[in-house]
């Protein structure tokens, strides 16, 4: 029988565009040390480690074996998970199964990226099929721009609607001292006046590149309660990494992978009305238009209702369903860590350690990951055991 699993501790670096003060292993170690301190464990307590990043960003092969001094993996079981933007949630889900399997009691999950050492777009371009996709859908932005324009055409959404999402993220980031964009708020005018990258996406509609790491400790039922007074229980995790070719993605039907992963995750978690039962969501929104459209795919509002839902302030701090109290991906994007940060931030809300970004009375929290060829991961966390 699968065991119940909870998150008992989290740690993250102070994220910046260039962390020239540390190398990759030191960056990893900063997050690991903070996660262990957070749950008052030492590395000796950890039974196994999972680590994730994107190989070609730092150009290091076999990061699991390279990272030992930073991760604390010396003479421990360690394996590497890599699935693109979803790497962080893939790492978290691997942590979940390491513990759920009954083989390991306390597991350390690490996501990291030192984007300042990479030519990120050059690396991302190579994910596309070299024959069919690389000359049209190369890098991160083209397929996002396709989706955004299709959404605007379909529902009459405007660039200004999207700007509201961008502003929300950066406003929330002012409560999060770890965020890269901490102390750097923006206005709607700033977004509208920022440089056009690929219509309709402007510079302030997209996530930055970040140096940073995140670490999360998972523990089994019976162990978790002794480590954390209120563990963040994993109720469900669902993944859809269906497509291989960007040309196969249907940009009109909504975010199919997120729709399907959310549906399965809610069903497993026993959540019938997500907008009423989810108290806070940390969503992997790599660009502002996702903040309109993808919340429809999750089911927080109906198709085309995203812009109204956002403008009404539902997703702001103090709103009905605060989204990304951390400032989200548009405030910090250390790619291999990004989706693990979503998981950690959702857990922080349940652990009650959010400080200025804490949402009151959180029972259920949701974290998502996005990446690859329009892939989605969904994790539901709760104060209550599954």
């Amino acid at each position: 029988m699968a065991r119940r699993v909870a998150i008992v501790g989290t740690g993250q670096t102070h994220h910046k565009s260039h962390r020239i003060d540390v190398n990759g292993k030191e960056l990893i170690n900063e997050a690991v040390t903070r996660a262990l301190d957070d749950c008052e464990l030492t590395i000796a307590d950890i039974d196994a480690i999972i680590i994730g990043n994107m190989d070609h960003f730092e150009s290091i092969n076999y990061v699991d074996t390279w990272s030992i001094e930073g991760s604390g993996g010396y003479m421990k079981p360690i394996m590497k998970v890599t699935t693109g933007g979803t790497t962080g949630t893939s790492v978290a889900i691997a942590g979940y199964y390491h513990v759920a399997s009954g083989i390991f009691d306390k597991v350390l999950c690490i996501g990291w990226e030192k984007n300042s050492e990479s030519d990120t777009t050059t690396a991302i371009v190579t994910c596309s099929d070299p024959i069919w996709d690389r000359f049209s859908y190369s890098g991160a932005i083209p397929s996002l721009a396709t989706e955004a324009s299709a959404y605007m055409e379909q529902y009459g959404a405007t660039q200004e609607d999207a700007a509201y999402v961008a502003v929300r993220e950066r406003t929330h980031a002012q409560n999060n001292p770890y965020a890269q964009m901490y102390n750097r708020p923006i206005t709607i005018e700033d977004v509208m006046n920022s440089a056009m990258l690929t219509y309709p996406i402007k510079l302030l509609d997209v996530c930055p590149r970040t140096d940073g790491a995140c670490a999360v400790v998972f523990a089994a039922e019976g162990v978790a309660e002794k480590i954390a007074p209120q563990p963040a229980w994993i109720k469900s995790c669902s993944v859809r990494h269906t497509t291989t070719w960007f040309g196969d993605v249907d940009y009109n039907t909504g975010m199919l992978s997120l729709k399907r992963a959310s549906r399965e995750a809610f069903e497993t978690a026993g959540i019938k009305s997500p907008v009423d039962e989810i108290d806070v969501a940390e969503l992997y929104l790599p660009y502002s238009y996702a903040g309109l459209k993808w919340i429809e795919a999750i089911g927080f509002c109906g198709p085309g209702e995203g812009p109204r839902f956002i403008r009404d302030g539902n997703t702001n701090m103090g709103g009905k369903l605060p989204i990304n109290p951390s400032g989200g991906v548009m405030s910090t994007n250390c790619i291999g860590a990004t989706a693990l940060l979503r998981t950690a931030e959702a857990a922080i809300q349940i652990l009650g350690k959010g400080d200025k970004r804490q949402v009151p009375d959180v029972t259920n929290a949701m974290a998502t990951g996005f990446g690859g060829c329009w892939w989605s991961d969904v994790i539901i966390l709760s104060k209550d055991k599954p």
Binding site: M1, A2, R3, M54, D55, H56, S59, I60, N61, Y62, D64, T65, W66, S67, I68, E69, G73, Y74, M75, K76, P77, I78, M79, K80, V81, T82, T83, G84, S90, I93, A94, Y96, Y97, H98, A100, S101, G102, I103, A123, I124, V125, T126, C127, D129, S238, V239, R240, H241, T242, T243, T244, R260, G371, G372, C373
Partner: protein, 379 residues
């Protein structure tokens, strides 16, 4: 641990170059083969774990190229970047963690990359990469250290190559079935002293897949289940200078934990067969020592005594091993598949009689920095 089993296996033939196949084709081939072997349809596959490496594939998010081919459409799926034994371990965890079945599939095409550049990238970019260290030169350091410590000879390593290439003659999937003498190996081209061409595994293309199932779902498979009795992994220090390269202590730790899970007390008596990761000839005796089959420094002796031969007391790599086909990442999964076939009695011409318990082994990182040990059994 709940009872879980391997119920289906599939592999491509391993070749120097599979020019007609893209990654997608190879993964599709072995996915279908594994399902046919198990008597499963796609509906019987609850979730998927793919195994790939961005450096080997020359593609960021290398798993993206094979998701549909692995049958992962609208299913839960994840990816391990590392040897297939590690990917299969994660697949096993997902069965123990709630899924009824996991399909694990690994692919790689050595023919499409430069193994020296790819394995040089394992090393520290500041201190070691510019020295030109790669898989072969670092292994040569390990081989020298091993010879020096125990007074071993190159001929003793050559004997392993002779044995494994001979075994490969009975395995239709192997890339290098060769009839060799110790002299042939000794006179082959020097690659990195003391490793000569025939001490080294080849560059290979290929893919492999296994299906892991819980007890209930194993009953629905066509095959006789091969039970996973124990599995464990462990990593040593990163810098070669921080390690005793002649003491595979991460392997010892992984083996010890896998044996404990499987209830093995005396490996040499209780294990009937070993499929291990012999990327270079010297690795076979060194890993046998780490697995506790003999005392340190005595690994080569047991090969000389014929103990590891097909008709020996402990056949090692009856398939021909990694020396006879080395699709990176896939090779560890192949070791598991070979152990499964032997236990089922389906190994064909290289079948060993009466295999009840078998060990399969894979590794990651330079000089076997990180090891994964599998114990598989008939019961």
């Amino acid at each position: 641990m709940d009872k879980i089993a391997i119920v289906g296996v599939g592999q491509t033939t391993y070749k120097r170059k599979r020019q007609a196949d893209i990654f997608y084709d190879m993964v599709y081939e072995v996915t279908v083969k594994a399902m046919q072997d198990a008597g499963y349809t796609l509906d019987d596959i609850d979730n998927v774990v793919t195994v790939s490496n961005d450096f080997l594939d020359g593609r960021t998010i290398s798993c993206m190229a094979v998701q549909e081919a692995a049958g992962a459409h609208d299913k839960n799926v994840s990816t391990i970047e590392g040897d297939g034994t590690f990917g299969a371990f994660y697949g096993a965890m997902r069965v123990l963690g709630g899924f009824g079945t996991t399909l694990v599939v690994a692919h790689s095409k050595g023919s499409e990359g430069d193994p020296r550049v790819i394995t040089n990238a394992m090393f520290d970019p500041i201190y070691h990469r510019s020295l030109g260290l790669d898989a072969i030169s670092s292994s040569a350091i390990q081989a020298n250290a091993y010879m020096d410590r125990y007074g071993l000879s190159e001929e003793q390593f050559a004997l392993v190559s002779v044995k494994n290439h001979k075994n490969a003659q009975r395995n239709p999937y192997a890339q290098l079935p060769l009839e060799l003498t110790v002299d042939d190996v000794m006179q082959s081209r020097m690659i990195a002293d003391p490793l000569k061409l025939l001490d080294c595994s080849p560059v290979s293309d290929g893919a492999a897949a296994v299906i892991i199932a819980n007890e209930d779902r194993a009953k629905k498979a066509r095959t006789k289940p091969v039970w996973i009795k124990g599995v464990a992994h462990c990593a040593d220090a990163y810098f070669l200078g921080d390690r005793d390269l002649t003491d595979p202590k991460a392997l010892k730790d992984a083996a010890k934990r896998a044996y404990t899970m499987a209830g093995i007390n005396t490996p040499i008596k209780e294990i009937d067969l070993v499929e291990l990761y012999d990327a270079f000839s010297y690795m076979e005796p060194l890993w046998l020592e780490g697995m506790g089959f003999c005392d340190p420094g005595k690994g080569a002796d047991i090969t000389e005594k014929g103990i590891t031969a097909l008709d020996g007391k402990l056949p090692v790599n009856p398939s021909g091993g990694v020396l006879s086909a080395h699709p990176v990442l896939v090779a560890g999964l192949t070791r598991i598949i070979e152990a499964v076939l032997q236990i089922r009695g389906d190994a064909g011409e290289h079948q060993i009689d009466g295999v009840n318990t078998a060990l399969a082994h894979g590794l990651n990182g330079p000089c076997g920095q990180s090891h994964c040990v599998w114990m598989l059994g008939r019961k």
